[in-house]
């Protein structure tokens, strides 16, 4: 029964994360929320007896993906700054 409650809670949190990722004004926050969604998903995978998947999701799905997002965001931010400087 406790598993069930945890699952429901996790599901709710994940949907909330998805909502933040979609609607938060700041892209940085949105990206972090996406990463968090991945982390919560990996907890869910552990509950579902899938440790391999959990590890992969944590390392790749939420870890590396988020870092690449950051790289791109950073690059875009500097591009935009250059634009301002030139203008």
């Amino acid at each position: 029964m406790s598993f069930l409650i945890i699952t429901v809670l996790l599901g709710a949190v994940m949907l909330a994360m998805a909502f933040i990722a979609i609607y938060h004004k700041k892209l940085i926050v949105a990206v972090i929320a996406t990463g968090a969604l991945g982390l919560f998903a990996s907890i869910l995978y552990l509950l579902l007896a899938a440790p391999d998947v959990a590890m992969t999701e944590a390392a790749i799905g939420s870890g590396l993906t988020t870092i690449i997002f950051f790289y791109v965001l950073n690059r875009i931010r500097t591009d935009a700054k250059e634009e301002e400087n030139e203008a």
């Binding site: 391999d52 992969t56 590396l64 870092i67 690449i68 790289y71 950073n74 690059r75 500097t78 700054k81």
Partner: protein, 229 residues
Amino acid sequence: MNKLFILIIIVALGSMLYPLVSSFDGNSELSSLAQFYAQPDNISKVNSPNLVTAIVVTYRGLDTMGEVTILFLTAAIIAFFLKKGGTTRTLRLNSEIFKTSAKLLVPIIVMLGVYIFINGHLSPGGGFQGGAVIASAVILMLLASPNTKLKHNFFEALESTSGLVFVGLAALGALLGLGYLDNAILPLGEFGKLFSAGAIPVIYSFVGLKVGAELSNILNKFQSVQSDK
């Protein structure tokens, strides 16, 4: 496009998918395929305690090969796609403390990654996870000293070598008459030991190296087009 319209579409899609949920009944037992994999005879044919690894590396090894290829492809595409992005790079320098601790941490993280993929057939984790961990060490290195250029050639050579070894091992099975990707080209060893499960640890290690190199390449490429002003 009107959001209400999209909402209707989403709801319609949901109701289309609803039969998948409504007729879902959970599982009280394994599917026939999984039962085959979990039979003692068959477990001993592969001799890998981690059944997911057994599936990923042996039974569905071809998928894994494809998967590795996808990362390889992505790295190659990003490499020629972002080639011309080179604005002059002026990146902030980090503090000495960060740099020094990174230098200490990187080998440890790499070791962890290697451990993960070498033990892929025994415990959770394997080539992909280990490779990702190695890549995270590379990120740390990049973050610590952003202006160092990674030895690109090293990673590409590592990537190519491990790829070739993977393909070679796979083809070896076919040449030996056992079947493509058969792990029995090496002795199966004793169940649950490090040197067991035939070629699985070897293949998974090279997959790990390859994934690590590929991810590092991708990250490095993204890093190389950064500039802080």
